[in-house]
Each structure stands twice: as structure tokens, then as C-alpha cells.
Amino acid sequence: MSHRKPSFLLTDSYDCDSTQSSVHTVDYERCCVLHCAKCSTVIADSLSACGEAKSIKSIICLKVTQDVKVRGKFEVCLEGPLAFCTYRVLECGICHRSMGVILHSTPTHWSSLRNLFLLRKEVLNCYMLSKCTVVKATKVSFETRPIRKNIIELQQDLQAQLKQVEMLKEVLEEKSSLRVDQRRVRPNASASTSRSTALLTSGSK
């Protein structure tokens, strides 16, 4: 019994394959292509979408197609959600419909959106891949999901495990020192074993 192979070494199956982690698979089935609602020109796709600016009902995009033209003139807004921002208007290169804006200078709350394409949802259609359907962009959500909570949870899990490992290490150290003691003083063996068992049971909680 004392030298039996621990049960966890008998099973080769690991629930998680570490080799898989290096492969980043994009779920293309959930992707969509953004088209101008008027002339169907491709404007962008969901691979370059970074989220949604709800107050201006716009999709935030890192990249757009060459069919999107940036008007040269800077404009200023003094009221509404984009108050005190300077921006340039984006238009569809084919039908010249206004598609949204690029913010150039902004108050603090908009600074993270500078130099990104803000495309108005109401002038866009979405072609959903795999479903093969065209829907209004206003019906599709491009919202980001907060990730901080997940990270904190994971951190707590890992810290709890670290504690467990440290506890096990302590137990092992104690056991090995006990073994040395046992060799020296035979009669006391039973008392010290029961002590280490008590420690182990408290550890498993």
C-alpha cells in the first residue's frame, strides 16, 4: 500500500491540451460584413470592429475599405453627444452618403475614440456570414463585454491553488522530517502519524 502508484499518474488523459492554446481560431460563422444601406458597397467587416459608441449609435472600426472617403474639411460640433469635438465626415465613395465621422480633437471622455472610424448604424446593413442574410445594422450588437471580472475570478482561483500547493509542500516537509525522527525514535511513531493526518484533513478543507 505504501508504495502504490498514485491514481493521478495512472490516467494519461488530460482535460486540457496545452498544444491547442497556440491556435487562435476565429469563429467566422459569427462574422458579418457591413454594407452601405443605400448602394450596398462594402464598408467594413466585423474583424476590424472594436465595439459600439451607443450615444452616437455608431460602430467603432479600426479599418474600413478603400470605398470609404474621408472629407477633407474639419467640422466642429458645439452641442449634442459630440459637443466640442472636431471631426471629419466619412462618406460612401460610391453614393456619397454620409457614413459617420473620424474624431480629430475631443474632450476627455471621447479621447479613446480619436482616429477610429465611427460608422453610423442607421446607414449600414449587415450581411451575416453562414446565415446568408442581410439585416439592418441597428439590429446587431457590437458591444464589448467587460473582461475585468473574469480576470479577477481567475486570479482568485489561481491564488487559492497556490495556497493549496504551499500547504501540501509543508505537509510533505513535515512528513519527511517525521520519517527522520521515526528512524531515530521508534516508539513515538504512532503519535506523530496521527498529528500529520490531522494537518492533512484541515488542509483539504
Partner: protein, 160 residues
């Protein structure tokens, strides 16, 4: 066709009005001799209701025309009845490759300088991070189980 840009799928557009007619995720095959690609069904296509005899092969089959729902221009054909050699085309939408395609991720207009530090996180990248987190969590659970087993093992050893 579909391998044009890595593994990214392509969306096929009507050559005239640029409406999307299908994408390579619903790929059903291709016929290189006739420069045709075959896709599964899609909403934006009107299927003709007058079958006629196709004369492109020695053994003819019955085909109907496929038209774009937006502009009505002919996009391709669909075999409704085929001889054995053409069974792979039956009921699929056969398009000519001359229709425009847009490969996902090929949009390349970007505002001048966005350095790597200020690079915004795309929804796609967020998804990848989330996937990785799920994997790490699963791994943590596995490690937890293993630790518990070690603990129990030590316990039984010390009891014996």
C-alpha cells in the same frame, strides 16, 4: 477562390448592384472548366420558375436562372434535374466567378498612425482572449483535482 487570403472566408457580391449573394462558408464545390462556384441557398437570390435545357455539356440537364433580388441581373444557374455526372451540382447555386468577391479582413484603410500601445482591442481579439481564459480556467480546475488527489493520497499513506 476561398483560399485567397489565408482561411478568411469570401463574400460574393452581385457584379451590378454589389448586394451580397452568398459566402464561402456555404461552399458546395466548384467547376473549374466552366469557371463556376457552387453555394448553398441564400435569401438575396430569386430562383427562376421556367426550367430550360442546359446545353453546356454533352448530356444536358434542366436548369433555372438565378437572379439578384436587388437588381434582377442574372447571377448564375441552378440545375433542377441532372444526369449522373452533374449530380454534384443539383440543387446548388452555380455562380460565374466574374461576380465580385470581398474577402473578410481585407479592409485596409486606416487612419495614419495608431501605434501598438494605443491599438484598440477588436471584438475578435476580445473573443480570442475570452477563449484563452476559458481554457486557463478549465486547466485550473484540472490542477485543482490533481492537487486534491495528491492530498488524499498523502492522507491514505499516512493513515496506513
Amino acid at each position: 477562390e476561398e483560399d485567397g487570403d489565408g482561411d478568411a472566408p469570401a463574400v460574393f457580391l452581385c457584379g451590378k448592384c454589389r448586394r451580397p449573394v452568398g459566402d464561402s462558408l456555404s461552399w458546395a464545390g466548384s467547376d473549374e472548366q466552366l469557371n463556376q462556384i457552387m453555394l448553398k441557398v441564400h435569401d438575396n437570390i430569386v430562383i427562376g420558375n421556367e426550367p430550360y435545357v442546359s446545353s453546356t455539356r454533352k448530356e444536358p440537364g434542366l436548369v433555372v436562372n438565378l437572379a439578384c433580388r436587388g437588381c434582377g441581373s442574372t447571377l448564375g444557374i441552378m440545375y433542377t434535374s441532372t444526369p449522373k455526372e452533374l449530380d454534384f451540382k443539383r440543387s446548388y447555386f452555380c455562380f460565374g466567378v466574374e461576380n465580385i468577391e470581398y474577402v473578410l479582413g481585407s479592409a485596409d484603410q486606416q487612419v495614419a498612425v495608431v501605434d501598438s500601445k494605443d491599438m484598440p482591442v477588436t471584438l475578435e481579439l476580445q473573443e480570442i482572449v475570452e477563449q484563452q481564459m476559458i481554457k486557463i480556467k478549465a486547466l485550473a480546475v484540472t490542477i485543482g483535482h490533481r492537487l486534491m488527489e495528491i492530498e488524499l493520497d498523502l492522507q491514505t499513506k499516512s493513515e496506513s
